[in-house]
């Protein structure tokens, strides 16, 4: 019996100790009419060898196309050591560190993670993770409504240059709590927030302004001006950032005069494989004054009975297992194993390694843009300073072009024409440090060939 250790003798002895005639008798409190008759949709068991063959075949169906998609999930090199350690049973098969004395490994690692994340974002405190970047933004909006007691509107202002999926998720998760999301347009031809639209809200009660940096188009917003405007007008600021980019760019804690109030994002670029979108992890950092409004686990350092340093879950009075219906969030299980990967990844790369990855990604994207825009009828939509993504405009239906590229085993980017119809046949592309010059050339010649037809 796979994974079940019982011998016939064990079963007999155990039933005798229980005083039950059979295993079936252990279910005698369940009404007989409810018992399962059959499980027709479950196939017969496979051995490990057979399931290995099956999965290998399924994986090979998909193959490994050359990919230029980004849009919130990025293909970076992950040192071999990261997942070799992450999948050690002691990390992989432990649970939430409720018994602190038996979980010091996980707890110390999370404390180190909180330190690294706080420093990377320029904030004072970090939680121990949320599910992903999109749901982290939803939690940040809810947190801002709790933390910003003077604001009564529960009104969140977001730019149209926020990842559209993040807005969809935030709406779905906050649906029952009467938040209002106002979307402000971007400057046509420029691709960054139209500041005059923000200024037009002067005097209104706004709970928080969300800024994504770099924005969904890969461009840099004027974060200092937006942050200062929001604070001057009584709103909090929630930053949505790519943590890798913070190795190069000014951290949200230093935006404007005072820095932002809450920082969230997806930790995927820090050692987490693409893996079809998950598991990733959401991160959240904030100022100390808001720590009690934070959702999720938080680890603190303390001492044991002998005065020796140790780590434990703390501020648990915020959480669902204590506060129940009055908790800051319903979150319980988070994304611990992915935080483990990120902490090891950040330790191996260090600040200079992350900066090298970020700047190489930026450089490869610049090359990609340069090569692709040499093709007739391929234009750059916005020419501002960018990180590692860019919006291109084509002379025909993007989805047809992407289909044609897929036949050449190239995943060419994200079709923006439905989300941003005003941009025409727009395509969002990305290159990281893992796309070589040869990869970029291959994409350029494939696209040229497709567009020539």
């Amino acid at each position: 019996m796979p994974f079940i250790p019982h011998t016939d003798t064990d079963i007999k002895e155990m039933l005798a100790a229980i005083g039950a005639p059979s295993i079936d008798a252990l279910f005698d409190e369940i009404p007989a009419a409810l018992r399962i008759k059959s499980l027709a949709a479950i196939p017969e068991a496979l051995t490990e060898m057979e399931v290995g063959r099956l999965m290998t075949a399924r994986a090979q169906v998909d193959g490994r196309p050359l990919c230029f998609l980004g849009a919130g999930a990025y293909d970076h090199h992950i040192p071999a050591a990261v997942w070799a350690i992450v999948t050690r049973g002691e990390f992989y098969s432990a649970y939430t560190p409720y018994q602190a004395e038996a979980s010091q490994g996980t707890l110390q690692l999370l404390y180190e993670y909180q330190t690294m994340m706080s420093s990377l974002t320029g904030m004072e405190v970090s939680n121990a993770s949320l599910y992903d970047g999109a749901s982290a933004l939803a939690e940040a909006c809810l947190m801002s409504v709790r933390a910003h007691r003077k604001s009564k509107s529960a009104r969140i202002v977001v730019p149209a240059t926020l990842n559209p999926t993040y807005l969809s998720v935030s709406r779905a998760i906050t649906e029952g709590q009467n938040l209002k999301f106002d979307v402000l347009p971007y400057e046509p031809g420029k691709g960054t927030l139209q500041f005059s639209k923000l200024e037009a809200l002067k005097g209104e009660d706004i709970t928080a302004v969300v800024i994504q940096q770099p924005n969904f188009f890969g461009l840099m917003e004027d974060v200092d001006a937006i942050t200062d405007w929001a604070h001057a007008n009584g709103a909090q600021v929630i930053a949505v950032v790519n943590p890798l980019s913070l190795a190069m760019f000014k951290p949200p804690g230093e935006w404007g005069t005072k820095g932002v109030d809450i920082v969230v994002g997806d930790g995927q670029p820090l050692g987490v494989p693409l893996s079809s979108g998950g598991p990733y992890f959401g991160f959240m950092t904030t100022r100390m004054e808001h720590v009690r409004q934070m959702p999720g686990r938080i680890i603190g350092r303390t001492v044991d009975l002998d005065g020796k340093q140790g780590f434990t879950l703390t501020l648990q009075a915020r959480e669902q297992h204590i506060r129940r219906s009055k908790a800051t969030s319903n979150i319980c299980t988070n994304q611990g194993l992915l935080v483990t990967a990120a902490t090891i990844h950040m330790s191996l790369l260090g600040a200079s390694g992350l900066e090298a990855v970020a700047s190489t990604s930026q450089q490869q994207t610049a090359k990609l843009v340069e090569k692709l825009t040499r093709i007739p009828n391929v234009k750059l939509a916005f020419d501002g300073y960018r990180f590692h993504e860019a919006v291109l405009q084509l002379d025909r239906n993007v989805s047809d072009v992407l289909d044609a590229l897929a036949k050449r085993n190239i995943v060419g980017g994200l079709d923006l024409s439905k989300r941003y119809p005003e941009l025409g046949n727009a395509l969002l592309v990305c290159a990281t440090e893992t796309r070589t010059d040869a990869d970029i050339d291959a994409y350029a010649s494939a696209l040229a060939a497709v567009l020539e037809r």
């Binding site: 598991p279 330790s347 090298a356």
Partner: protein, 488 residues
């Protein structure tokens, strides 16, 4: 006792790095207004130092792979290594979440078949795999209940009924969804109090959240009556799948009358708990909630698969994650289910129940007090230390901490809240009889210690990396990052 492993920052020296891990030579030309002035305070260590540090940290943990881990309500069963290996094939790891369906048929077929298998074992009509943990599955479930009532124009249903034994996530989720919570008590035998239920339901009832078997470790015997009462009042039934392992292959929530359920794939379907996630809280629905499922759901047309989005499910409660949930976790659950197969599904509940009832019988014989001595255990059961606390001043927490010295992870303590001094014990089906016997022996030994020298038990643990920690200090003198409190 071990030498403590210093914080990684203590190993750091300026200028040291694992230089083979990143590209060399690129320097960015960042405009002044966007430039980072001071590098982040990340460690500067060699690759060996990092590997050794994190390997040493791992060794400070108890885990399923190293210890019996009978944490009640968490289903800490063996996580087969094959599930990890085959979910991490390079093609699957490298697949971008937005990759078009044309280059994703292998991946999508696994998810589609997982949906079909989960429908069958739970008796539901549709499954969405997107929720990223149990609590998000609960959220999806209640959001669907809200959407269902709204779609019928039934706007007065603002209350969710929750039994007092429920997980804290249940009332927290109801609040997050904008419902108010009506709590009902359990009977002394552990069943739901039908009279209390009758008093609580009415035209404002949107639904009830139930775990069955409940967190008290017993099966709700009158579940069909509960379902009838709630349905007659116009409410829906939500099944919290935290204890699905107890009934897998024996009874199906759909057949009990539940309208919507979540499953914790990291419990019942053996994906790793990862030191606190990732989980997966897939949801199942019956016919009337099908239109409201969270997107995306994998659909099949002819021989090809694709994600169903808002245009396919216009009444969806929407998207709960940026992509399609914790995809890698879903692949692990798929591999697990294929390895168990049909017969293996039935065996899960059978041997989980055998182990729980055996352990309960042995502990009762050894003189420990069951919270519900007249009842069968499900896959877990509660021992109460009320007597020991009163007579010896040794609490459930003291027993839990002393168990660590004996090499066992502690059971869940002080939950459910309505049983005083409780230990909620869930052995799971993957533990051998010898392990259960050794656990009983440890409990007996600790009882003897408590009778002879209570202080010894109260001072435990002694053999772990740290002794009991000062939680009050942790909360009062907050030290949440290195450098926050001292200049060490």
């Amino acid at each position: 006792m071990r030498t403590p492993e210093p914080l990684i920052f203590k190993h750091s020296r300026s200028g040291r790095s694992a230089a083979g891990q990143y590209p060399q030579g690129a320097t960015a030309n960042v405009p002044e207004k966007f430039r980072r002035r001071k590098p982040a305070a990340l460690p500067e260590v060699s690759e060996l130092q990092a590997v050794r540090h994190f390997t040493r940290l791992s060794q400070l943990n108890f885990s399923i792979d190293t210890h019996f881990y009978p944490l009640g309500s968490c289903t800490m069963k063996y996580n087969p290594r094959a599930c990890n290996q085959y979910a991490m094939l390079p093609e699957l790891l490298g697949r971008h979440p937005l990759a078009p369906a044309g280059v994703s048929q292998g991946f999508l077929s696994c998810l589609y078949e997982l949906q079909e298998m989960l429908k069958d074992v739970t008796g539901m009509k549709g499954v969405s795999l997107t929720p990223m943990a149990g609590a998000q599955g609960e959220f999806a479930g209640l959001a669907m209940i809200r959407a269902y009532h709204r779609a019928r124009g039934d706007l007065q249903r603002t209350e969710i009924i929750v039994p007092d034994a429920a997980h804290g996530t249940n009332p927290a989720t109801a609040t997050m969804c904008g419902f108010s919570v009506v709590e009902i008590q359990s009977l002394p035998n552990g069943d739901v109090d039908l009279e209390a239920l009758k008093g609580a339901i009415g035209p404002k009832t949107a639904g009830i959240m139930l775990t069955n078997p409940s967190t008290l470790g017993v099966f709700e015997r009158r579940i069909q009556e509960v379902a009838k009462l709630v349905h007659e009042a116009g409410g829906l039934l939500y099944y919290d799948g935290a204890n699905l392992n107890a009934i897998l292959g024996k009874v199906r929530p759909g057949d009990m009358g539940f309208d919507v359920i979540h499953m914790n794939l990291h419990k019942t379907f053996s994906t790793p708990h990862g030191g606190g996630g990732p989980g997966s809280g897939a949801v199942g629905v019956n016919q009337r909630l099908l239109p409201f499922m969270p997107i995306p759901v994998v659909g099949k047309e002819g021989d090809s698969y694709r994600f169903l989005e808002e245009k396919d499910l216009p009444q969806t409660i929407g998207r709960l994650s940026a992509w399609a949930g914790n995809a890698g976790v879903l692949l692990r659950a798929y591999v697990y289910m294929r390895m168990l197969g049909r017969e293996g599904m039935h065996r899960v509940a059978e041997f989980a129940a055998l182990n729980a009832n055996y352990l309960l019988a042995r502990l009762k014989q050894a003189g420990f007090d069951a919270a519900y001595p007249e009842r069968r255990a499900s896959h877990e059961f509660i021992i109460t230390m009320k007597r020991q606390a009163k007579e010896l001043n040794v609490t459930a927490m003291d027993f839990a901490k002393r168990l660590l010295d004996y090499g066992f992870h502690a059971p869940t303590t002080y939950f459910p809240l309505l049983v005083p001094e409780c230990l909620l014990i869930e052995p799971t089906e993957t533990e051998a009889k010898e392990e259960l016997d050794a656990f009983v022996a440890a409990m007996v030994a600790i009882q003897a210690e408590a009778e002879q020298d209570a202080a010894k038990v109260k001072g435990a643990p002694y053999t772990l990396p740290v002794r009991r920690l000062d939680d009050v200090r942790a909360a009062k003198q907050l030290d949440l990052t290195y450098g926050m409190r001292s200049t060490e």
